[in-house]
Structures are given as C-alpha cells and as structure tokens.
C-alpha cells in the first residue's frame, strides 16, 4: 500500500489505483467525467486535473490528470491548489459554452453528473458571448431518447457501447467542435445493452424515453431494492414509483451479479406493471360465463371452502417467488403441487440443479464469469436467454489483453493503452449453437449444429480433456473442433462452461457437466453455469423438493379421474402447452382458481380470479441461475383489492385452516417456515434482513429526503392527509423518515450523497471505488461445489430420429418477445415481432418458400402456421421457432416436425403477449 500526499496530508492508498480512484476512495471530491469504474480511464475530458509535485521542494508542480496518474510511493499531489482549481473551472466553462439552457426540461436534471460537477467546481456565469453550437437529434427507437445538444464529448457513450458492450451502430462522428454521437442514420439502437447509456452518459443526451414522456425527478421517486424478474440471472434493480405508477428502472449495484449494467429487457420490460391489462378486481364467473366483481374476503372464504372438499391440484409458477410457491405447496400438499413447468422443462431444470449440486465445479457469479480466461458456450443463445451473462462473457475475452498488460506492468485501468496493445487478441471463447449468436463476433471458435451434435461435440471435448476417445464418431471436422476447444480450455487458469435449458436438451447439460468435471483439478476450479428459463425456475424446482409434477402429469391426472379444483399461481398455461391440451385441462377441472397480475388466456378459463401484485408491489425471494437467493421488496403498495400473491394464499390457508399456515402472519414467517421445511432452501432467510431486524424508527426510507408534494399529492381525493402507510413486512418504510445510512447491501433503495445527486454517488456506498457495497453484497448463495461428481452416463441423443421430410424443431430466443411479462411493457412491445419460423435457405428451397411466406408446421399438438424467415446460419435440417412468442405455445423443442407451404397464408395480426388463438386446436 503506497503512501501518497494530497495537499500535505499522508494517505495510504491501494496499489495500482489511479489518483482519481484513490481520491474518491478517500472521500475527497475530485470532479471527473470520462473515467468510469467499469471502463477505466482515457483522460479525455481533462476534468480531473490536479497538481503533481516532483518532490518535497517542488512548489510549482505540474498539472496532471488524476485518472491517468498512477499512485506511487511518496507521490505528492494537490487537489486544492489554486492552479488546479482554476484549470478545472476552465474545463467546465468550456464544456458549458455550447450547453443548452435545458435543465428544467431535461430528464437528467436533478441526477445530472454535469450539474453536480459544475456546482462542485463553482462555475456560475457564462461569460462567453458567442453563439451556441446545436445539433439535430436522432430517433433511436422506442427505448432511448436522444438530445445531442447536451453532449460534453466525454466519449463515455461510445466507449461503453462499442468497447464494452460490443455494439457497432453508435459512433463519434465529424470533427473538432462538431463531434456528434449517434448512429450513421436514424434507427433503433441494435445493442441489447443500449439502455445502460442512460446511466453511463453523464448528461441528458441519452435518457429513458418512457420516463421522458411521463417524467418524475429522482428526488420524487419512491424506490426500493428489487430484483429483475425478466430472466434467470436475477440482476439487482431499483425501480422508482410516483403516483402509483412505475416510472423507471435503474441499475442497483451488486458487485457479484450485475455490477453497473443491466440488459434492455430488464431495464425497460418492467413497465408491464402499469399495463391496462392489470386485473383490477376479484372476479367470479357467473352462470352466463361473465365475470362479476366480488368482495375479496368472501372470495377467500369461498375458495377455502372449495379447497376443503375434493382434490385440489396446485400449479405453481417459475415466475413467482419461493414463498408463494411454497405456500401453494402447503395449501394443496406436496404430492399435489406442480411446478408449473412443462414436464420437459421441469425435468431439465431438475437435471441442471442436480448437476450443479453434485459438480465439483464452481457455479460462478456474473463477476466471476468476467474473469474466466477460456469460455465454452454450449448450445445456449445467452444474449437472448440470459442477456447479462453475454455482456460478462464479452468482458471475459479481454483477459488476454489484461494479461499482456500485466506483463508490461500496465495498470488495468489504462483502457486505451491496453486496447491498443491487444488489438484483436482475445481470450478464447467458443460458441456452439443452433444458429449464429450475437457473441460470435468475439468468439474464437463457432459452429452451428443441431442440439444432438452440440451434445456430441460436448462429450467429445470432455473425452479429449480426459484423454479418452470420443464415444461416437463425429467426423473429422467436428473432432478437430472438439480437440481445438479442449485445448483452449485445458490451458486456461479459470475455464468456464456456460450452457442451459435453452435447447431443451438434457444431453447438452450432461456434456457441459462432463467437461467441467474433466477440467476440475486440485489446483484449478472449473466453472459451470446453466442459464434457465425464468427468474425463479430454480426456486420452483427447489420448492418441489425432488417431487413436483410437470404440467403433462396434471393433464393426465385430469384426463383419468378429473380434478375437483385447480389452483393456479401466476401461470399462463397457454404458454406452456398447446391450446387444445390446456382447454381439455380446464374442462376436466371442476373449479379453476387463478391468481395473476395481468389478464392472460388462462384468465378466460378461470372460475375465480384473484388479482395479485406485480414484482414492484410485493416482497419475494427469487433464486437465480447462480443459485443465489435474492429478495425483492415492494416499491409501492398495490391498490385494494389487489393483494400480494403470498398474502392471498396465506389468507386462503388461514380460512381453510391449513395446519402450517396457522403460525404464519407475516411474510418473514412464510420465509422462515419454508427454510425450515425444505432443506435445500435453508439459506433463504439470509437473502435479506427480516422486518424485525430493524426497529420501527430506524427503517430504511423508500423516499428521498427531498421527496416533494406530500401534502398535495392526494389532496384532490381528500385534503385531510392520512398517515403514511406502514410496512409491517420489510425493514423499509414508505416515508422519507428513517435511517438511511449504513444500509445492508440488500436494502439500498437509491443512491445519493451530498453534492453527488447522480448515480455516480455510488462510490460513496462502496468499500473501495468499484468494489463491493459497504453493507455487503446482496443475496446469498445456496449452491456450493459438491464433492460427489461421479461420472454420468452420456445420454447422447434424446431427440427422436428424423424421418424423411422431417426437420428438427429448435427454439430460437428473442430478448424482446420470448419473456412473458416484459413484452407487455408498451415500449418493449414495439420491438417485438410476431412469431416466425427460421430456416436455412436449403430447407426453404425444399419447401419452395421464401422470406415472408407461410409454412404449416405439423406438431404433435396440432398444426401451426408461421411466417418464414431465411436464416442461413441455422444448422442443417433445423428449423427454429420463436420461443415464447405468441402462437408457439405447444411447440416442443427438439421434436421432429413436418413442414409444408401454407397456401392462403396471411400474416397474423400482431398479437403480443397472448398465445390464444394462434395455435390451432
């Protein structure tokens, strides 16, 4: 730890830091723009200028950039020297020469880093009398608003977009004071991570478009720590609410998971919370088939009465919390609990879970993935199934560059230097997939194969690593590929295998586990990670505790002896199975009770509908694909009669006098009971502090200390202000009073620090700049490396063989479209395309179709018409359907299918978010 002197004071700082980092870490305020803790320094903005002195006798010193100056033993700096201060003020003044008079109508205002820095250096009056440069804005799609006039040319946007996220369609254009940051022409930004520009850009150039059109300043947002529910990664988010509406989602720093960045599905997909499709009332279907609104309590007692008589099957949901699934299981009994996944998916998740539990390989966090120096992606299109992981893998390929830099003793933050040094040299990343993926541009080896072949190559890699012969003959080309990939993994210090349930192929999971097993040595921890389908896929599987039916079993049960009651928790069965099957299930069931947030086709088949809160209005524990249990807290209270899913179920449980429910009153009771009942979930209580851990007066305020309008917000309803709602269920409060310092990392509702109104204030909450939160990293890991790791039998091919004229049906994923809830956010819906079938040109030629034509797909569950898109990157004989998109509900991944040209094909009207009607019964 070198000692440096800042303004005469000696400070111990971390080796290898730059002065800016060190100063911020010491709590000193040094203004900056272009440096970013995740992206390093380039010294572009000149804002972090300080004086550096030669030695003790040097009184003049010279101006250096803090972010480009390494801290070395005995180095002497001055932040406060007049010359340094004057220089910094001059820089701000020049940045402000062309800055528009926009703050009141700028969506960055109040959390603008430029505002903060301007105030920090004390610049006040614009003395320059010349005219201001102006720019025309571009339309960048429905997610991001562009206001180019406000740019200070710090280059953070292009560094993030191109260098960090691998985008190609945003660039710096023109020269000198005409520099322009935008696309070569107007159009939707292509990167799946473009939304981070909103937080990366220190000014109001890039802002959240839906926020711009329904704006609330940061200080007026009520926020709570939450977890993204749009995929299995479980990124930490901070949703903000005002007037009962979700206004925006910002990144919530979690050192081990999402770090500083989210994907666009997570950032913009949460707006389904405000959807007009929210179920507004408790509904009971009358004799005439129409719903009438009924009183919530009488509905609870009627449903409880139903449960007491006859057999009830509970269908859980991989998008509901552990607690809700657990309560459902308790209500209906473990033997009657279904995870809500299809049998195929349920088995896959169970299989993945087993592999992870048994494997000696480490299940890496996202951050750990970034440090892997050789990666193999087996069969998973991570960019579209678990997007944040793709961003992490993109960073992993830079480890080669960091290693080269370390050889030259260049610090890791020397961003431009390291990029220049490494040029195109990257750590190996191999991607085996059914079609080209968005990671291929940084991959060292890619191949597009059918799922069976992917598994075979996987096993061949494992065999190669173990020095054995591959079990099956792959042909020379694939054998060579397997050998090369095995070599890259063998010579790595931290090899990582990423796979998942995306292909619907258990052999791929086995192959990945086999590779990880072959890689794990006494001194080398291999990493193994599986992407799963939904935010709590793992949680639902764990609640089932080894049992748990798949949907098909429920269907069989219904077909055999009928079901008296069906209690469905937040699940749209039409997405999980074909229309005809779902219909027959509903026909066989006596009473169908549905708890859900948005209307779905399943709603139309229910006899009782109970409206549940969205993720933003309820607490819950979710288990991510890493096996990390994380708690999300309600940002605001939902309006009666909407209740939290767990509260409905608990109310029903109390009413039906279910034994285990008796002792439960609060949410934490449910969590504790669940942890005590299910061994593997023992750790979930540690995901976040319990409500009782904080005295009522010290609760963490969800509102900022400058929350405005408290005596006017609801004065139109009544001028007499009610008391603030209390929160019995969490350590947070719905007020601005409370104790906001020294939070537990899982309880951080927003970041703010005096003088630092923007999200850059985060460093004040970190133990070291860019490091973990002082209050600890949120969440708790449930799965640690096992020790059994017995070799598993290769399950080889699991798919039926192809007969003549048949094609392999593979699922293709879309970041916007494949996830159920995010597609109902209006902005995201604009980016969704109707379901389609992609096929290589060779298949299209066989069928005599071309782009835009229709094909009829003969599936076991009925015929489906889909629009053809030619995708030449697809593996031979494979046709890919848009998984999760309306109209593809009953299609089975991996099945063999017959295709024929659909005559009289007409493009279906663009139905979003509902599966009904498109699948023919």
């Amino acid at each position: 730890m070198p000692t440096i002197y800042i303004d005469g004071q000696a400070h111990e700082v971390s080796e290898g830091d730059n002065l800016l980092q060190a100063a911020l870490g010491l709590g000193l305020d040094l203004p900056y723009f272009c440096w970013h803790p995740a992206m390093g320094s380039i010294g572009a903005c000149r804002q972090c200028a300080v004086l550096q002195y030669q030695d003790e006798d040097d009184t003049r010193g010279r101006i250096v950039m803090g972010c480009m100056t390494p801290v070395t033993e005995g180095a002497r700096f001055s932040l406060a020297a007049d010359r340094a201060q004057a220089f910094r003020e001059d820089i701000i003044e020049s940045l402000m020469l062309n800055h528009p008079h926009d703050c009141p109508v700028c969506a960055e205002g109040g959390e603008c880093h430029l505002q903060d820095m301007t105030v920090m250096v004390g610049h006040r009056d614009r003395e320059y009398q010349g005219r201001k440069n102006t720019h025309r804005n571009q339309h960048l799609g429905p997610l991001i608003h562009h206001e180019m006039n406000r740019c200070i040319t710090c280059y953070r946007c292009t560094r993030y977009y191109r260098d960090y996220a691998g985008g190609t369609d945003l660039a710096a254009m023109a020269s000198h004071d005409h520099v322009y940051f935008g696309r070569h022409e107007e159009g939707v930004l292509e990167s799946e991570f473009a939304g981070n520009l909103v937080e990366v850009c220190p000014t109001g150039v890039f802002t959240d478009k839906s926020l711009v059109h329904d704006y609330t300043r940061k200080w007026d947002l009520q926020s709570a720590p939450s977890v993204c529910t749009a995929c299995s990664v479980g990124c930490n988010i901070m949703p903000g609410e005002r007037y009962g509406k979700l206004k925006r989602i910002h990144n919530r720093f979690n050192h081990d998971v999402n770090g500083y960045f989210l994907c666009d599905r997570g950032r913009f997909g949460g707006h389904f919370v405000n959807s007009e499709d929210r179920i507004p009332a408790v509904g009971k279907r009358d004799g005439d088939g129409r719903f009438s609104a009924v009183d919530a309590d009488s509905a609870v007692s009627s449903i409880a009465a139903l449960l007491r008589q006859g057999k009830t099957i509970g269908i859980g949901s991989p998008r509901s919390s552990v607690e809700a699934n657990y309560l459902l299981r308790e209500l209906v009994g473990a033997e009657n609990y279904c995870t809500g996944m299809s049998a195929q998916e349920g088995a896959l998740v169970q299989h993945a879970l087993q592999q992870l539990e048994q494997s000696q390989a480490l299940v890496p966090s996202i951050r750990a993935m970034e440090s892997a120096d050789a990666v193999l992606v087996l069969g998973e299109d991570v960019t579209n199934t678990a997007p944040r992981i793709a961003l992490a893998l993109r960073q992993s390929v830079r480890n080669k560059a960091y290693a080269m830099a370390a050889d030259l003793r260049l610090e890791a933050w020397q961003d431009a230097a390291i990029r220049n040094l490494a040029q195109d040299q990257r750590s190996p990343l191999s991607v085996l997939s059914v079609a080209a993926t968005r990671l291929d541009d940084v991959a060292s080896h890619t191949a597009q194969l059918c799922p069976d072949d992917i598994a075979r190559v996987g096993f061949a890699i494992a065999a190669e690593l173990e020095g054995a012969l591959p079990a099956v003959d792959l042909g020379a080309e694939l054998a060579e590929l397997a050998k090369t990939i095995a070599d890259t993994l063998r010579s790595a210090d931290i090899p990582l295998v990423v796979s998942g349930t995306g292909c619907g192929h258990s052999g791929i999971l086995d192959a990945s586990a086999a590779i990880a097993r072959a890689l794990t040595g006494p001194d080398r921890p291999a990493q193994l990670s599986f992407c799963l389908a939904e935010c709590n896929s793992l949680g639902a599987a764990l609640v089932a505790d080894g049992a748990g039916m798949g949907l098909e079993e429920v269907l069989e049960l219904a077909a055999q002896d009928g079901i008296d009651n069906l209690l469905i928790l937040e699940n749209d069965l039409f997405r999980r199975t074909s229309c005809s099957k779902a219909d027959s299930l509903f026909q066989a069931a006596g009473n169908v009770v549905l708890l859900d947030t948005l209307t779905t086709p399943t709603c139309d088949n229910a006899d009782w509908v109970l409206p549940t809160s969205s993720f933003a209005e309820t607490e819950g524990t979710l288990i991510s694909q890493e096996g990390r249990a994380q708690r999300h807290f309600p940002v605001f209270n939902s309006v009666a009669p909407i209740r939290e899913n767990w509260r409905w179920l608990l109310d029903i449980g109390h009413c039906a006098e279910v034994a285990t429910c008796k002792s439960m009153v609060h949410f934490d009771d449910v969590t504790t009971s669940c942890a005590n009942t299910i061994k593997t979930l023992f750790g979930i209580c540690a995901a976040a502090p319990a409500a009782s851990s904080v005295p009522a007066a010290d609760k963490v305020p969800r509102q900022t200390h400058r929350f405005s309008g408290r005596t006017a917000m609801r004065a139109n309803i009544s001028v007499h202000e009610p008391r603030q709602p209390t929160d019995e269920e969490s350590p947070l409060s719905f007020t601005m009073e409370g104790h906001s310092a020294e939070h537990n990392g899982a309880l951080l509702p927003y970041v703010w620090s005096p003088g630092w109104n923007s999200n850059q204030s985060l460093h004040k909450y970190q133990s070291a700049v860019g490091g973990a939160l002082q209050g600890g990293t949120a969440g708790t890991r449930l799965i640690e490396p096992g020790d059994i790791d017995a070799a598993q039998e290769s399950s080889g091919s699991t798919a039926p063989a192809l007969n003549a004229g048949e094609y392999r049906l593979v699922p293709l994923y879309r970041i916007f479209g494949s996830e159920e809830m995010s597609v109902r956010a209006p902005a995201v819906a604009q980016l969704c395309r109707p379901a389609g079938l992609e096929m290589p040109a060779s298949v299209a030629a066989e069928l005599g179709v071309s782009n835009g034509d229709g094909v009829t797909l003969t599936a076991t569950t009925g015929n489906v018409d889909l629009e053809v898109t030619i995708n030449d990157s697809l593996a031979a004989n494979c046709v890919g359907y848009s998984h999760g998109v309306s109209g593809t509900g009953g299609l089975v991944p991996g099945s063999a299918t017959k295709l024929c040209r659909a005559e009289n094909w007409q493009r279906a009207p663009e139905l979003i978010g509902t599966d009904r009607g498109a699948t023919t019964a």
């Binding site: 009141p104 102006t134 254009m173 322009y180 329904d214 400058r706 309008g709 139109n716």
Partner: protein, 175 residues
C-alpha cells in the same frame, strides 16, 4: 420606586396622545388596504408572451416548497413542449413564502397580492391547474423559456433559439 412611578405617568401620557392620532384601522372589506405588487398572496400560473402555458413541469417549485403543498405531473405535448398534466396546490398548507416563485426557472409560478382565500370547506382550498392558470404573463412580461431553451418545439427548430447557431452538418469536415 420613583422611577416606576415616572414610567407609569409616561405611559398614561402616551396613551392619551394616541387618542389624537389618525386611526390605522380600515373598514375592511369595504375599504381595501394597499398591497405592493410583490406582496405574496394567492399563487397563479402565468402564460408566456405568446399566450401559451409557461410551466414546463420541471418540479423545482414543488421541491422548493417547505410544506410540500405543490404536486404535479409532467407530460409532453404533441408540439414537443413539456407541460403539467395536472398541477395542484393545497392552499390550506401553503405558507405564502414565495419559494416556489423563487425556484421557478420559467417565471410561470407567481404570487399575487390577493390573500382573500377563506373557505368554509377546507377541501375548497385545493386548487387545480384550471384554478391557477391565468391568461396573462403576470409580473414578467417578456420572458419565454422556450425561446431560450435548446429544446425543439413546433415553430422553433434546432438552432433557432436565442444565441444559437445553425445545427452543425456532421458530414462536413470544414473547420
């Protein structure tokens, strides 16, 4: 003892003198007091010189307000202007401090010399935008925020605001 007696006498004398001064009391409400133009009374929302709503829904008045009695929601109009979808002042809480006027970057919110706002029903003290918005520019006759701001609105393109140069041509490499 002696001093107190003098003080008493002096007081009685002064009271007596007051009997001959002119009464300050006015026959309110028949007789109205003079209130300076900058007197801080009932709050209004004004219009810019072109007759359009001045308020851009920036929320600065709301955050400056000590009793937190201003609430509003921003919206964006077809023509590109930010405006308040609703704007509410709870006058039963307002302390007429004028901080909102002080904070307003557009001169939209202004206090007027009208303090006669008594109501029997407290609910009637809640004013919405239609109660607050007046037809004129109030105390500030000339200021129009949108003529200064860089935001493009209908009728004012980029580069047409005060002190702005033509939008740059990104394709040109000329200095």
């Amino acid at each position: 003892m002696y001093e107190s007696f003098i003080s008493q006498l002096r007081t009685i004398w002064q009271v007596l003198l007051h009997s001959f001064t002119k009464a300050e009391t006015v026959q309110y409400p028949e007789e109205q007091p003079y209130l300076a133009p900058r007197y801080r009374g009932r709050i209004v929302l004004t219009r810019d010189p072109d007759g359009d709503e001045r308020c851009v829904a920036c929320n600065l008045c709301a955050v400056a307000c000590p009793p937190d009695c201003i609430a509003l929601q921003q919206g964006v109009r077809e023509d590109g202007r930010w405006y308040p979808e609703f704007f509410r002042i709870n006058f039963s809480r307002c302390i007429m401090c004028g901080m909102c006027e002080e904070a307003c970057p557009t001169n939209a919110i202004q206090l007027t010399p009208d303090f006669e706002m008594c109501e029997y029903d407290r609910q009637s003290m809640v004013y919405e935008k239609e109660h607050l918005l007046i037809d004129g520019p109030g105390k500030y006759h000339d200021y129009n925020f949108y003529r200064v701001s860089g935001l493009k609105i209908d009728g004012k393109d980029k580069g047409e605001a005060l002190n702005e140069a033509e939008p740059v041509d990104v394709k040109s490499l000329l200095p």
